[in-house]
Symmetry: C2
Subunit: 222 residues, 2 copies
């Protein structure tokens, strides 16, 4: 059975990640409890959980505020994610099984198909599976869990930069290289490729922000 608090958390999480709320917006308990048809108690439990994963900022006696990570923080998170993936890759190169290798190569095929048909969502999903498989293959359940958590937190920002022209093809090529390194059992190379593969996402994201800021500055001075 799934508790109402859990259901509410899930729904709210989706809304926040989708960007349904402005950053810094205060979430009113009464309003939301009406919207979800639950009392304030399970809603508050959901708030707690969301605060734990960093999506809300709970201030005593003041309320729950939506917390889209600041851009600087996202850059930092990509920096950590890169290193984490590298470590996963390093371990995975030594510990991965034939079965998982097979599953991995299948996700690469899916990615190829998605690139063919310019299906960003399709690519996005296959990409996620690809990375999760590697986390799992690290053979370190704790690491895998943490990596998934961080991956999830970066979800909306990864999505943004996937839309940059040409990135899909490049990303796919990187996936192929990772797969090759894992097949070869070359842990250093797997680590390095994965590190760059993720780091470049942070860089692309940064580029995006800079261009955004330039645009808004121009608009302001015009």
């Amino acid at each position: 059975m799934v508790s109402r608090a859990d259901a509410v958390r899930e729904k709210l999480e989706e809304l926040i990640i989708e960007g349904a709320f402005a950053s810094g917006e205060r979430l009113d308990e009464t309003t939301l409890s009406k919207k979800f048809n639950v009392s304030r108690t399970p809603l508050r439990e959901a708030f707690q959980a969301l605060a734990a994963s960093g999506l809300l900022d709970l201030q005593t006696r003041r309320g729950a505020f939506v917390r889209h990570p600041a851009f600087d923080e996202v850059i930092e998170m990509f920096e950590v994610m890169a290193e984490m993936e590298a470590f996963c890759g390093k371990l995975a190169a030594r510990r991965i099984t034939q079965n998982t290798l097979h599953a991995l190569s299948e996700t690469v095929v899916l990615c190829e198909a998605a690139v063919e048909s310019d299906d960003i969502n399709g690519y996005y999903n296959a990409n996620e599976t690809f990375h999760f498989l590697i986390y799992e293959a690290s053979g370190n359940a704790f690491l895998s869990k943490e990596a998934r958590k961080l991956h999830r937190q970066l979800k909306p920002f990864r999505r943004m930069q996937l839309k940059v022209r040409g990135r899909l093809n490049q990303s796919l090529a990187e996936h192929r290289m990772v797969l090759d390194a894992l097949v070869a059992g070359d842990s250093d190379s797997a680590a390095d490729i994965l590190r760059d593969h993720v780091a470049i996402q942070g860089t692309k994201f940064n580029d995006l922000i800079v261009s955004y800021r330039r645009a808004s500055q121009k608009a302001a001075t015009a």
Copy 2:
């Protein structure tokens, strides 16, 4: 102002880490709420928070169970911690300030004094400061926060292995080497030394567990 829920969380956390409850023990809401003189509501909020940090296992309609990480999981956590520290060290070697370097060398002096007087607690505290300073010096606030979190989770297990004979001196020597590498700005070397410094803690912990198990097995067959 600090809410009662926060106060309860803090107190409970302390109790769990201290080992006041058996692993897997179920925490009764009514009993505990009486003990802390609060209602079940803030207590339940505290449960949520503790579950988020991994100290409790909340099962729907069944209750809250104390969750001391399994030994295997602790080993995994040390593995991740080692890599995280290595990354902190790598960044810190490039970004550390004179002030922080100075503060670091002071903690080394404190560690020396603690070793002299065989003061495990003193060493323990100075050791913590040493590591936290390095996290901070990474210049990546997100990384620093995550590293502190993991460090905290490993607290009780680190403490255990510090009691092994000769470990204090060895640890101190490693601290000196880390400091040297940071002063020299040698990021690779700082990373490697820190990785080993932490990994060895996991190894020592593992040794401890193995010897425990042997002992209890002997006792059982005797």
